[in-house]
Symmetry: D2
Subunit: 343 residues, 4 copies
């Protein structure tokens, strides 16, 4: 469909929806035909910003319209599964906000359905389109960092408390998706512990540790009850160490030429270790709004048939980690293996 | 023994020993009669700094000398139990470097022995004598922070790799001792995961989560394979949040007047939450070398019979957490309850 | 005119104009009737954002329209004098972007004209409406900082090079206006030195020192050829010291309880000095867009007849410092007295 | 005298003297034969640290001893001239603390005397031996920074107030020496302004601007009445910008790949400018105590006859700037040309 304009219907215009609609409507080769939301208030806000777009209160119009090539879903997570399924069943490509859905088996069904139909199913893991993450992925792929040994992140703030999901489901999908993207290994087991202080049964703080099948270790610390606003992601490789700090305006990634090596120059398990401490570099990375890159990537994947970076399978892997972490939390931190069924 | 000079024999003059000897020898009311070390090299270094002190190659002289009131033990951790036991059995007060010893049952024996004999048994948890920690403890005790909800720390660096203990036993005793000191609750269970990259069976990075009996959560992240030198300790209370950053020269503690509250002003479990964001304060805290305060406190406790802040029981609690964490690590992060035997 | 809507015509829609128009159009009690600009391109941009506003290509319509109560001038500085004069002569209140104009005598004429006619003449020294500056002014007024001794600022960046004015006229008006506002003393003489590297006769870097009539000292360092983006303003008083850092997202003002005192507790000229180092406080300051506060203040002053914080006289004082600095620069840094004519 | 031990007598054991004595006594190939000080108290402190060194109360013994090859002078600045002259007249090499002396003509006399006698006259501008400054000098010499355009420094603190000299003579010699070293141009004129708040006639804060003969600009801001401890030095070249921050423990130098260029790639005076923003690099610089490098350099220069980096001529240039700045301050900032007489 290379020469055609991509016609999109967006479902959901709440917290994140306006950002999606703004980016979609400014994107070349795309027409945002509908914005759908059950709230009249939100639709009237959409009307101001998007006077050319059709505003509808239920999803039927969007699903039934054969002119619609793709559906963008930014509704509450609980509705993701049924909306995705309906859109895919209607032959429409899908970009769904994270998480893919709330249940691993349902996630597998969606992935299967998309592959069966030859449709793009993409999950809005927006950090995979952040120029800093793209830089780190390319740096690691190039081999310059050596083998990735471990990674850890902190995503902390005071506020944006959610009442419908805990801080794991609200904040950690970002870090899990980055970690899977950079680690290039499969998660094997998760141990997570958290605590609920503001509401019963809704964790405000979670520490989550992941073992990967190559021996790598990952740790994610998320909280919405913290004195600092922190968003850092550290990756330690055998040759270089990378730190991504999203709270600084420039120089978001720092590359440390630091490593431990044995006398013969091979990092490893000998008796005598030496520290190498070389230059630190803040590479010049051209910034753009990650959501803009995400929307463009979705358009391109639909147009060319390419597989999205954050395709359904990637979204499913994130979901599996979330699911395992949830079960671990409910068992006081017991490690939970990530079972992979056929998909 | 208020008016007497305290006569001390020090055992061990390796990495930390010279710092102890320097502080002991400068302390009023104390005489450092012996320095004992099995290495002739180290003894000759001691001779330069402490020309007035007797230098001995084995511990027998120290233990047998009735003029010795107290023994300060800075030898490898594996020797702590037998040296402490011998010193206590000889009727001498003991200041032993952290950890108290390597085995919980042996730790209980030492605590019991000291209490039976009415001797001071103090463990060198030096951070409990750090002015910043003292400030935080007093601040929390005063009620200004409200109820402590959770705490977490990072103690990261590149290097000072140990070959005789993993990063848990090398680094985490500091954080565990601070956490127990500030949390004012008993640890109930530990879940810890780590990874060994530089040596087999010796963890370089560990993430360790502790549940306390008042519902508090603690997390400790230690590593000697990290790009940054970090030493931070964060405590979140219902009324205030405190951050201790030991890497800045001044303003090591920051008090955040931040909290989440319900509309009726009571922090809690309601439906509608508000954020309070008030001033941040960096209190003026008079700094002194923590080890100097520790040595002075040991002298005073021996002189007055007072119970040390880091007495044997406190050292034993740290040891119990280390022991539980070790067992958790070996089981891939399975939560391990901290069993308290009679002591 | 308390109950009436204030009808405004804006002249100039270049770099800063769109920000003004946005704020004016969102302000209650104000109607933005015209936007005037000589560029058709810029007018068509204005049309998108302000479909309700009349767009005109020359200023005559605005000046001639009796319904217009006030003119907001955001045109190039070279046109400020004649536009202000015409607007005032037409009986209209004026808010003019900084600088008031380019010539001290012309500035005096405008101030005289406004006062004669009883019209508001306000200069857009936007930093005087920055919540951090407001806080500092109130803090100093309250006496808590003691007597202000000296102040210095840095406003540095790479870029936004101007071709029509040097970095003094482009950047320093902000710092001069803040300094005059906080110092509460009259500038007596200026010594300034700069250098031109990118263009002939257009300074890229300037250091400017001001003596005030109460013995205070001020220094301003501006540059658009610097590796860092810096915007700091430091005020040292006898009792407290204040630092305003506009590049941090929160905690923009820091209050240092630091001072030097004599043994008898009186700061002064004795032989023996002591340092007092107390808490540092980052006061919680509610942020709002300074330009919004500026526009609201203009509206209120017109409505109530109050004298603006940055009225014509204040704008004239800034202009006098700029003028003296310009003459000092041209004479290699020779101190230039600020002559105050009758006004 | 390549194979001989260098025999040194040190005069002055006050604030800085103990650091010199420690470094000299630990330096291979050097024997510290005397420490001379007029205070019995200070000599008794010297006795503890330097039991092997002869302690004398007046300088005659040192000057008269033919075994003494070199004299190290760390006495008050007012005595530098006569002590240097006497030492040189006695045929001894001299390392004198900054400033060389207090009077330009006397400084010229010392330089002339040393050259006439073929003796080393070195001034203790210790920052020229700081690894960060050495790095910057080599970086600039290599051409990588392009042409140096301008430089500025801040040396601020609360305290170490002096009663015998103002903050210019106390603090600025460091920055002036670094600036002359990196700028590789001759200072032409100085404009300086300061203010005296704590003592009459003794400036606490000074801003000092220097024009160089290649069109470069330098600015120095020194203060001992400031809320922050700051020690930064920024150098802007046509190709790279360098910042030296001496208050951070690691990464003291940052190299910014930033510049402004014209469309044809040549930095210059065209109409259209572009910003280049590349990587930032914190080079790994092996740190050592600058004073140790300084003492070693003095030893080597005496041994080999090499000209010191901070020889008498360099010290004289610093003195000329200090002298011009002093005269400018006394005239309210009037620019003062640096007259170079025959030397």
């Amino acid at each position: 469909m290379a020469d055609k304009e991509l016609v999109i219907g967006q479902i959901g215009y709440g917290y994140w929806g306006p950002n999606l609609a703004r980016n979609l409507s400014e994107l070349e080769g795309v027409r945002l035909k509908y914005i759908c939301d059950s709230s009249a208030d939100r639709l009237s806000q959409a009307a101001i910003k998007h006077p050319q777009t059709g505003l509808v209160g239920d999803t039927g119009t969007v699903m039934a319209d054969n002119a619609i090539d793709a559906v963008v879903i930014a509704s509450p997570a609980v509705s993701h599964f049924s909306l995705c399924r309906e859109a895919l069943a209607s032959g429409k490509h899908v970009l769904v906000e994270k998480p893919l859905c709330l249940d691993v088996r349902q996630g597998r069904e969606l992935v299967g359905l998309a592959e069966e139909r030859g449709l793009v199913l993409m999950v809005g893991h927006v950090f995979l389109y952040h120029p800093a993450v793209t830089f780190m992925r390319e740096y690691i792929d190039s081999g310059q960092a050596g083998n990735v040994l471990y990674a850890y992140s902190q995503r902390l703030n005071l506020g944006r408390l959610r009442h419908d999901e805990n801080c794991l489901w609200s904040l950690a999908p970002h870090d899990i998706s980055i970690m899977l993207h950079l680690m290039q290994a499969e998660p094997e087991s998760v141990s997570a512990r958290g605590a609920c202080y503001l509401r019963e049964n809704l964790e405000d703080i979670i520490f989550c540790t992941i073992y990967f099948d190559g021996g790598q270790l990952g740790n994610i610390h998320v909280s919405w009850l913290d004195p600092h606003k922190v968003r850092t992601f550290t990756v330690v490789g055998t040759e270089k160490m990378l730190v991504f700090d999203d709270m600084v305006p420039d120089g978001k990634v720092k590359v440390f030429d630091k490593r431990v090596y044995r006398e013969d120059g091979v990092p490893g398990y000998g008796e005598e270790f030496y520290l190498h401490v070389g230059d630190e570099v803040l590479p010049a990375i051209r910034m753009e709004e990650p959501l803009q890159a995400e929307c463009r990537h979705f358009r391109d994947c639909v147009m060319t048939g390419a597989r999205p970076v954050s395709d359904g399978r990637q979204g499913l892997r994130v979901l599996e980690v979330l699911d395992a972490a949830t079960r671990s939390i409910s068992q006081g931190g017991r490690p939970v293996e990530i079972g992979r069924g056929s998909c």
